[in-house]
């Protein structure tokens, strides 16, 4: 084959490939435009009924009945619109919309899809079951927490949080474990899900605080604090003092700030002052402000001059939270004639507090 023929082959191949690419582009666009326009036309008459339902104005149930009776091809286009409304409303409208989905067999279909071969299919199914708060599917969705696809695990966790059944709590904590070098769940997803489940997750949390996996301990500490689980305080103290993982210790400190007792002021103070890691010191300084025990005033005032200026700032912010007592200390520090670091940190915090209107003494603060 001489050069000329080679060139011809190459040229033709290129030309065909380019033409195919252009064809793909044009066809994709055409399809999208046409499908989009057709879908819109089909749905227009039904949007009204959907709005009536979603706004809770469907007192006689006519809109619901009309939409339940919609034939399958139209429903296929309509369903995404209905699904879009589900996370936006609460109360009767949400129940009605859930009932609508059920009447079209979507919930049964979703339960089947939980074992689909496509990860997207599984994720969509879990998402839907969460949206309609299908308590009966909890056991099925829990199995998705160990799904090979990260996306699916995340959607499953969020769905379980929305459904709110506390029996799924231990499953979510299990899912946090790292397997094959991949983390099971982002910590904040697990934490949000657990917080949404309410106070009954307490026992699972306390168990999780003693888990061998640091990710589990970490999330449990975070949830204990945000959800104010006072019974977790003893275990949190142990974590703060003895845990091997720095993140866990920091989360325990934050949580103790919220649920700790009188004795914890001294504990937090110890870790704010000693030669601990920067992160832990800062966390403890902030936690002291959250805890709000009078004996911490001294510690915090002492930190105003620390070499770690961010720590000083946090200590000053914490003092503001004490109300008039803390503010008095700050004013004392700021008012000294020698402009040292203490004065700077104090002055800065007082300024900000002034802007926020926190300097006006509120009764009982």
């Amino acid at each position: 084959m001489n050069v000329g023929q080679t060139f011809l082959t190459v040229g033709v191949a290129l030309g065909l490939a380019c033409a195919s690419a252009v064809a793909v582009i044009v066809i994709a666009k055409l399809r999208r435009v046409r499908v989009g326009a057709r879908a819109k036309a089909m749905l227009a008459p039904h949007r009204g009924a959907l709005i009536v339902m979603a706004s809770g104005e469907d007192e006689d149930g006519q809109a619901l009945a009309a939409l339940c009776a919609v034939p399958a091809p139209i429903w296929a286009r309509l369903r995404s619109g209905v699904v879009a409304f589900l996370p936006k409303v609460r109360g009767v409208p949400a129940e009605d919309l859930g009932g609508l989905m059920r009447s079209h067999g979507e919930i049964d279909e979703a339960r089947r899809m939980l074992t689909s071969r496509s990860a997207v299919g599984r994720a969509r199914a879990a998402y839907l079951l969460g949206l309609v708060r299908d308590v009966d599917s909890v056991a099925l969705v829990v199995t998705l927490l160990s799904d090979p696809a990260a996306d699916v695990r995340m959607v499953a966790a969020r769905a379980l949080g929305t459904i709110g059944d506390p029996s799924a709590a231990s499953g979510i904590l299990q899912a946090l474990r790292t397997s094959h070098g991949h983390i099971g769940l982002p910590a904040w997803v697990a934490a949000e899900a657990l917080l949404a489940m309410g106070t009954e997750v307490g026992p699972a949390l306390e168990l999780g605080l003693t888990s061998s996996d640091p990710a589990v301990r970490n999330v449990c500490a975070v949830v204990a604090g945000h959800g104010t689980y006072f019974t977790a305080a003893p275990q949190l103290r142990i974590l703060l003092v003895t845990d091997s993982d720095a993140d866990v210790r920091a989360s325990a400190a934050v949580a103790l700030g919220r649920v700790g007792g009188a004795g914890d002021a001294a504990l937090l103070a110890r870790y704010a002052e000693a030669s601990e890691t920067t992160v832990l010191r800062r966390t403890c300084a902030a936690a002291l402000g959250e805890l709000g025990h009078r004996e911490s005033l001294e510690t915090l005032t002492g930190l105003l001059g620390d070499r770690d200026r961010r720590l000083a700032q946090l200590a000053a912010d914490s003092l503001v939270r004490f109300g008039s007592d803390g503010i008095a200390r700050l004013q004392e520090a700021a008012g000294t004639t020698t402009p040292g670091p203490n004065a700077r940190a104090a002055g800065s915090a007082l300024e900000l507090a002034g802007l926020r209107g926190q300097l006006v003494s509120v009764p009982g603060s």
């Binding site: 050069v3 000329g4 080679t6 060139f7 190459v10 040229g11 290129l14 490939a17 380019c18 690419a21 252009v22 793909v24 582009i25 044009v26 994709a28 666009k29 999208r32 995404s80 699904v83 996370p87 997207v120 994720a123 969509r124 879990a126 998402y127 990260a150 996306d151 959607v155 969020r158 991949h182 983390i183 982002p186 910590a187 904040w188 997803v189 934490a191 949000e192 975070v222 945000h226 200026r309 961010r310 000083a312 700032q313 700077r344 940190a345 002055g347 800065s348 300024e351 900000l352 507090a353 002034g354 802007l355 926020r356 209107g357």
Partner: protein, 503 residues
């Protein structure tokens, strides 16, 4: 007459001799680079096309409302940005995210940047101490925050010392664990922070840096800092750049990220962990390709420290940025980029082909050396030689056509594949007219634009080799609410510290 034909003869012989040597290698070079681009696209394309399906269950609203994730500090270096800064900051504050702050660093602006900000946000001076975690040069003048004390906006004014140093000051002032640098003229997608923090949330111990897809904003209708309508620019120069961005930056980067050797994150939008930035010392104010240099420095630091880390690319549009509208500004931008590329690659030459540096040293760097750094030489020389040779009769038609096919035809195919992936995934350009213009621009790119940019890149490289002082480009801000082709450089002497970033 005799002298002329003698000259031509001599030229003919020279060109012929060179062609004997380089004829096949030139063809092979183009074949290889275009094939490699297709491979990179293959790695990324699948992910792009399917990302749309994930949106239906992504639960963005919930992510935005959550405060349990890591917070983000948005650092905005600003020099004489009075036209856009207020709109930009307003839009940044309105980003959908649970916990973020905006840190504007005024790099000694001589215009009304400070005044307009103060007026719009009711700023008052505060005593805040800015730590020196990263060494900075410019002296800080003062710090301002909004009078309500709650809006998470901080304005740090300092002496003029350049964009990099300003960003370093911003890093120091940042309070959140993640930091993202953006330019004042960029428009961010409302979900940008949600998108780019995802890798950090999914893998908090490993991911240290992440970038997203940057697109060209020229021609788009932007109202009050919001993207209202995506349109293609009106001039072919802009259109070709749009195509360039789609191909190289969108798919190239994504492919490298999947492979695990992403060494370049756009300076127009890069998110980093603050503690890592402090560890490596922030941006280098003396470097021209400072964003590239930062990522390379992070790679070297993490590898030497035997840390398990990742630099990730998010296959989603996050930011829109203004591209040069005139050839003059484009020229200075490209020459600067290439200079930055050269100087950084040279600085880290110890990593090249060094097995200690894994995929970065053994795959990414060699690729960049050959197909990014030396590429313009091969391209330009190839083009000149073939054109000259053809004119002189040294090169036969078949070879010339073959060259065109492999160099430009194949390149057009690569671009068209990129366009197809874009159409199947984000399809941001809804109008048929724009789609047609993009397709045409894909072809036109090879008829002059590529050759010109190759030459300008060589200019930059040469300037660096000769030790010339770098010249900062002047890109006059058009402001956001303008979709007409701009007449740039109205104030040609306005010494603007325009970004030197690689994109």
């Amino acid at each position: 007459m005799m002298i002329w034909s003698g000259f031509l003869d001599g030229l003919r012989r020279v060109v012929s001799a060179i062609m004997d040597v380089v004829a096949t290698p030139v063809l092979i070079y183009f074949l290889v680079i275009n094939t490699l681009l297709l491979v990179l696209m293959g790695l990324a394309g699948w992910e792009f096309v399917h990302q749309g399906r994930r949106k239906s269950y992504a639960g963005r609203e919930q992510t935005a409302a959550s405060q349990l994730g890591q917070g983000v500090s948005v650092v905005v270096p600003a020099y004489n940005e009075e036209v856009v800064i207020v709109t930009s900051v307003q839009a940044l504050l309105a980003l959908r995210f649970g916990r973020h702050e905006v840190v504007v660093v005024d790099d000694g602006s001589t215009d009304a940047t400070f005044e307009v900000l103060r007026g719009a946000f009711d700023l008052v001076p505060v005593q805040r101490e800015i730590p020196s975690d990263v060494t900075t040069l410019g002296t800080i003048i003062d710090v301002h925050v909004p009078r309500d004390g709650r809006t998470r906006l901080v304005l740090v004014r300092k002496e003029n010392s350049g964009r990099s140093d300003s960003i370093n000051v911003g890093i120091n002032a940042a309070l959140e664990p993640l930091v993202v640098f953006i330019d004042a003229d960029s428009i961010l997608e409302p979900d940008a922070l949600i998108s780019v923090t995802k890798p950090f949330a999914d893998d908090p111990t490993r991911v240290v840096a992440a970038g997203g897809v940057i697109r060209a904003i020229n021609g788009c209708k932007v109202v009050d800092g919001r993207m209202v309508e995506v349109k293609l620019g009106k001039t072919w120069l802009v259109r070709i750049q749009v195509v360039e961005y789609l191909r190289a930056f969108m798919l190239g980067r994504s492919g490298w990220s999947r492979f695990g050797a992403l060494i370049l994150i756009s300076g127009a939008f890069g998110m980093f962990r603050r503690d890592v930035l402090v560890e490596v010392g922030g941006l280098d104010p003396d470097s021209i390709g400072e964003d590239f240099e930062l990522v390379m420095r992070i790679h070297r630091h993490m590898i030497r420290d035997h840390r398990d880390y990742r630099v990730q690319f998010v296959a989603e549009p996050v930011s829109w940025t203004e591209v040069p509208v005139t050839a003059k500004v484009l020229r200075s931008q490209r020459s600067r980029w290439h200079r930055g590329l050269w100087e950084t690659l040279w600085k880290y030459r110890g990593m090249l082909l060094n097995p200690r540096y894994g995929k970065v040293g053994l795959v990414a760097l060699p690729y960049y050396w050959v197909f990014e750094l030396i590429a313009p030489v091969l391209e330009f020389v190839g083009f000149v030689l073939v054109a000259l040779g053809f004119a002189l009769g040294v090169v036969n038609t078949t070879y010339a056509l073959m060259f065109m096919a492999v160099a430009y035809g194949y390149a057009t195919l690569v671009t068209l594949v990129a366009m197809a992936i874009e159409e199947l995934s984000f399809h941001k350009y809804p109008r048929w007219h724009d789609l047609g213009a993009i397709l045409l621009a894909s072809v036109l790119e090879n008829l002059g634009y590529r050759q010109a940019t190759a030459w300008w890149r060589l200019e930059g490289w040469w300037a660096s080799l000769r030790g010339e002082k770098p010249v900062w480009g002047t890109m006059t801000r058009q402001g956001f609410d303008d979709d007409s082709p701009a007449v740039a450089a109205l104030n040609g002497d306005q010494a603007m510290n325009a970004s030197s970033r690689d994109v």
